[in-house]
Each structure stands twice: as C-alpha cells, then as structure tokens.
C-alpha cells in the first residue's frame, strides 16, 4: 500500500471509529466484544483498502463488514454457548413500549442477531430498507418484516419521549 493510501485509510478509520464502536455495542451490548468486532472490521478494510476506497459507498461497505462480522461472531458464540452452557431461561416477553434504556436493552437482547442488526441499521443508523437489505444481503421484504415490530415499539418510545 502506498503511503498516501495508508494516510487515507488512517483518516477514514479515525473519523468513523466512534460510530463503529457505538454500532458494534448496540449489536452485542458488550464493549469488549464491540471492540473485537471493530478490530476485525478495521483489519478487513485494510486488507481490501484498494477495493474499499473505490467503492461507490465506502460507509455502506464498512457497515456490511461490521454487520457480517457480528453475525459470524454471534453464530459461533451461540453454538459454543449451546454446547457448553445451560439452556437460556424463558419467561420474559418483549415489552410493549420502549420507554427507557433498560427496556430497549431488553428488546435488543430478545431479538436474534440478524433482527437486531436490522433494527440498529434502520433506526439508529437511519439506513433505508433497501440499503439495510443490501448491507445484510437479505431481501427488502425480510427487512420490512423483521423491523416492523421494532418500528412499532420505537414509535411508542417517540411518543412517550415527546419527540
């Protein structure tokens, strides 16, 4: 990699690092894992920087890498946990209204990794249905169906917050 490319890479990453960490945390709700995910993302972006820097939408590309890293990690983790730990307790249901950070945290934890990613991309990062579908490599219909419940509860949140 040329020196100028490397400088470009450093500038690009440093501008977005905080945003990626925030997004990763929303996906996994654990700062250690979040930083692991961002490190993996940075590594992959560096390896493919020539391709990334000429991409039509670098941010969507980076978000795709981060999201895929999360889905890969959660898949591995769930298999490990499934094999090593006790079954997850059931008996808790998704709250009807999201009025505080605790209920949002519970909602996110109750969702599967892909649904959680849909919710974060759509309602935190403000990606459109089509952009979300492209990032997660799923259909627009799947994005709509998976985000419908979250949209409903977040609308309730907006009302309760007066926004």
């Amino acid at each position: 990699m040329e020196r100028a490319d490397e400088d470009d890479f450093h500038a690009y990453v440093s501008e977005r690092l905080e945003r990626w960490r925030r997004t990763a945390y929303l996906l996994c709700q654990d700062w250690h894992t979040a930083d692991d995910l961002v490190s993996i993302t940075v590594t992959k972006l560096f390896r493919n920087w020539r391709k990334v820097r000429t991409a039509d939408n670098r941010d969507a590309y980076a978000q795709r890498v981060l999201s895929r890293s999360w889905l890969d990690e959660s898949r591995r983790a769930s298999r490990r946990e499934w094999a090593q730990s006790e079954p997850v307790e059931v008996g808790w249901s998704v709250p009807d209204r999201i009025v505080d950070r605790e209920s949002l945290a519970r909602l996110l934890k109750a969702l599967g990794p892909k649904q959680r990613a849909v919710l974060v991309l759509r309602f935190y990062l403000d990606y459109s249905v089509e952009e979300t579908a492209d990032i997660l490599r799923i259909s627009a219909g799947t994005v709509k169906s998976q985000s419908a419940r979250g949209l409903e509860t977040l609308r309730a949140a907006a009302v309760s917050l007066g926004s």
């Binding site: 690092l17 961002v38 298999r79 094999a83 609308r155 949140a157």
Partner: protein, 273 residues
C-alpha cells in the same frame, strides 16, 4: 426517532481498545511475509525441478542402488505426521487451521462413513457447496485475544441416513482460565452442570468426555478431548439445521455421541504439543 434512546443505551464510551496502528503494522508484516513466502516457494520449486532434471539426466540407462545416506526412513520406522496447533502469526495460524481441517475431514470419513458434509445456510463461507468439508477459521494469538475464545473453529451441515444437523469443531486458546482470568475446569473433565456426562480415556491416554443435552428444539452431543498441551478439542453435533433448526429439529442427531467422540479422538491423535 429512537436515536435518542439508542444513545442512552450506549452511554459514555469507555476508552477504545481498538489499536489501528497495531493492526496496520501486523497486516503489513503479514503482507511482507506472504510475499517472501511466495518468492521462497518459487525458488524452492525451481531448485527441486532443476535437481530432478539433473538427476534424471545423469541416471539415464543406469540402475543406481539406493544411497545409504539418502535420508529416507529406515525400514520399520514411521514418520511422525502429527502437527502442532500454532497461531502466533497469520501464516502459522492459517497453516494449522488447514491441517486441522484436513484431519477433521479424514476423521469424519473414517468414523462416519455414510455421512456427508452439506451446505449449512447458517454458516455461509465456512462450508459448501454440498460435499465440501468446513473451512476452519482461526484467530492469531495476540495481546487482545480473549483467553477462552476458540482459537480454531469451524461449522458445517451434516447429512447421515436422512438426518440433518450441524457439526462444530472448536479448539480453545488457553486451557484453565476464563475470560476474566478465573480458573475453569480442566479439559476432558465433566463440568459441574449436572448434565449427562460420560468421562473416558483416549487410546493415547488423553482424558475425554461426552456431554449430552436435550432442548425443546433438539439435542446436542459434545465430545471433548484434552490435547497434549492441555487445551481442549471439541466436536459438537446437533440436530438443528438452518435458521432456528426448522425441519429436521425433531429428528435424531446425524451422528451419535460415540461418533462425535471417535472423530474428536481421531483428530486429536494427529496433534502434538
């Protein structure tokens, strides 16, 4: 709309442990090593080709007896084909993962002759198309590595006599310590969870266990063998396949717990400290 709540959930960001400069240094080192490896491989290949050519030219029409100092193994001895699982660099980790994957494939074919690898939609990139063994992933050991994370791992769908499920192989990084540094159980010993667990010993003396766990959605067998360096090699087989374990979830696992153990023992027998 809900961004405010998301930000509340995130709260204050702790100091970042993402070391971009270190990542760049490591990747540049990896890139250089790959370049040198490529050049060295080309040089060796050229040398071997030249040597073979010269040898064939000089021995044409003659029948040379085998050289006493030829370097071949003496009769009655076998070469040690075992390999070490090393992950101190990108190259060593990739090479170890490749050898481990080949050992898994060979053990799978030996211990479950009727079974086949199938594409598992839940693990794209690690397996597929049908018939292809899983591609094991790896983590390079560095200061940021979690102590209990799986250093080598891979998943694949498995089909056996009409039963579908998933197989997972995992080798943890450091035995004996959890992520927070607290002691954990030793490899090859039953956990105190109360789950059905059968302890045993591999032909080479390594302790083994087979755990069985039933869920509403299915069943999983986990076979674990202690490796020579104290790490654990695990093979888990379940009867879920695809998203949420639909379809075949109510059927038996494609491999038995005994087969999972046999595969784990066979793979472990190829690994040295």
């Amino acid at each position: 709309m809900g961004t405010q709540l998301f930000d509340q959930l995130i709260g204050d960001l702790p100091p970042s442990s993402v070391d971009v400069a270190a990542i760049v240094r490591r990747e540049k080192r990896r890139s250089r090593t790959r370049w040198f490896t490529g050049v060295a491989t080309a040089v060796v290949a050229l040398s071997v080709t030249t040597a073979i050519g010269l040898s064939m030219t000089s021995s044409t029409g003659t029948s040379s007896p085998p050289s006493a100092a030829g370097g071949s193994s003496p009769a009655g001895t076998t070469a040690d084909t075992r390999f070490a699982l090393v992950a101190y660099s990108e190259e060593s980790a990739a090479a170890s993962a490749k050898r481990l994957g080949a050992a898994l494939d060979a053990a799978f074919r030996k211990e479950a002759p009727g079974a086949t690898w199938i594409f598992d939609p839940e693990v794209p990139g690690q397996t597929g198309p049908d018939g292809q063994p899983p591609k094991l992933s790896y983590k390079v050991v560095d200061g940021a590595s979690k102590k209990s994370q799986e250093l080598f791992s891979g998943d694949s769908g498995v089909l056996n006599e009409g039963r579908k499920g998933s197989l997972h192989l995992g080798v943890n990084a450091i035995d004996g310590l959890g992520e927070d540094g607290t002691p954990q159980r030793k490899a090859g010993t039953c956990p105190p969870s109360g789950l059905p667990c059968k302890a045993g010993t591999a032909p080479n003396g390594a302790p083994t266990i087979v755990l069985s766990k039933a869920f509403d959605a299915g069943r999983v067998y986990t076979a674990e063998v202690a490796l020579p360096d104290g790490r654990a090699l695990r093979i888990s087989v379940n009867n879920t396949f695809g998203a949420g374990g639909d379809g075949a979830a109510r059927q038996a696992t494609p491999l038995t717990g005994a087969q999972a153990l046999a595969i784990a023992v066979e793979v472990a027998s190829h690994i040295k400290a």
